[in-house]
Amino acid sequence: MAKRKKASQVCILTVTGKDKVGIIARIANTMAKANINIIDVSQKIMDEYFVMSLACDIAEAIIDLPNIQKQLQKIAKDMDLNITFQHENIFKMMHRV
């Protein structure tokens, strides 16, 4: 019997901070290494400020949520950014009836 695909687990990542080289590269790399599939990205620069929101699916991830958070917070610290990573249900609950 074919292995059933796990139900998707969508999380939303946000990044804000001063724009610099390599923000998306570093985040995308971390995601790829963890086998996290990026499904949507929206990014812009507002007065030198980098603002990004990214949706990804962690259903097939090879590391757990606390470790994903840890790696993202390391990037935030290294590159002086604000990074949040939250399950999409919190946004659905707050903004959709």
Binding site: I12, T14, D40, S42, V51, S53, A55, L65, P66, Q69, N82, T84, F85, Q86, H87, E88, N89, I90, F91, K92, M93, M94, H95, R96
Partner: protein, 453 residues
Amino acid sequence: MSITVEEIFETVNMTLRQHFDIRTVTLGINLKDCMDRDLDHFCGRIFHRISEKGRQLNAIADAVETKYGIPITNRRIAVTPASILLEPLPRTQNAAVRLAKTLDTAAAKADIDFIGGFGAHVHKGATSAEENLIRSLPRAISQTKRVCAYFNLASTKSGMNMTAIEQFGHVIKDLAKRSKTGIGCAKVAVFANVPEDNPFMAGAHHGVGEPDYSLNIGISGPGVVKTVIEQNPTCDLTELSEVIKRTVFKITRAGELIGREVAAQMGIPFGIVDISLAATPAAGDSVAEIIEAMGVSRMGRPGSTAALAMLIDAVKKGGSMASGNVGGLSGTFIPVSEDAGMIRAVKEGALSLDKLEALTSVCSVGMDMFAVPGNTPADIISAIIADELAIGVANNKTTSVRIIPVPGKRAGQIVHFGGLLGSAPIMPVPKIASPKFIARKGRMPAPVQALRN
């Protein structure tokens, strides 16, 4: 993406910049099946259950916090009222103190900062076990760190137990004297119409109508509400009410999601979301500052009561739309010592004890965390309690009093409690009140509103 970028950043900013958090997840635990005539057996059983469930609560709350990125600031436990648990045991202070110490060490082992339920419902009268519990209270609370006590001294249905209210004047003074700042009194609240599923300390307990376990959530977002009010500086009050309602809807939904998830992971029923706006001493996390953002020059000045009434109404409308399980206290807390704006209002003379009482006639919680001179006579403390509880009884609502007579301090001085409990300016009280009225004791009959059948 079905959620817009603006909506994502609205949520993210609530936690990053506006102090939005889940203030508490409180696990209610039934301990009635642990009751025994043997004190050792009884204490052994409750220690085991509380420490194990407490550890589980902490671990699951940590995981849910990581998943949703919303801080769960406090994890607390509420147990079956201690007076029920003490019924089969000897009527000695040692038994009651031993129970308090067991609750304290079990909470410490599970890394739970406060455990509630060390209390009784004596609004109509007290059993001998309840009388013993009240007598033991100063010792039990002063010898423990994490135990919170509540006593229901009045209800709309049965009137006011003035004998107990008279006694509590002395109990509170005795407890205050046992520490330098009177801090013990911060862990004791007396109530009219106490709710059985309130997740907030000091009044939390696992009521007799509750199942074996229940998971209750206290959300909090004074900073979020204040920010949306500031973003609407000129709109009229009808529109402002709408803006508050929408915001409270969102934060209540977040609370409901997290409460349900914690309960599901623990395998226990979800109880209620308490939509109270609870302040902390942190800058920008103040209910008084919401009232000031609405346009009142300083909390306590004329206009404050009307503004607070509108705020709470909007909070209730938004919250009850968001969750079918709104319960507990669900109003607005205005504790003096825990709210930077309240402290400032008292220091500047804008807020007096009289106005604080008036504000509680529209605010659910009552006169909370306020300090008075250490030499305030017991009968005046009783009279303040009687006045406040009468507001609750006559208006069919919950009211409470958490009063701290600080030993050796005079009106105008400041007492620092530290941490979440904050600091409080000592408020002046009249030199003489109603000693003869309080000395009458007895039961004030239920008001005519009680006859609803």
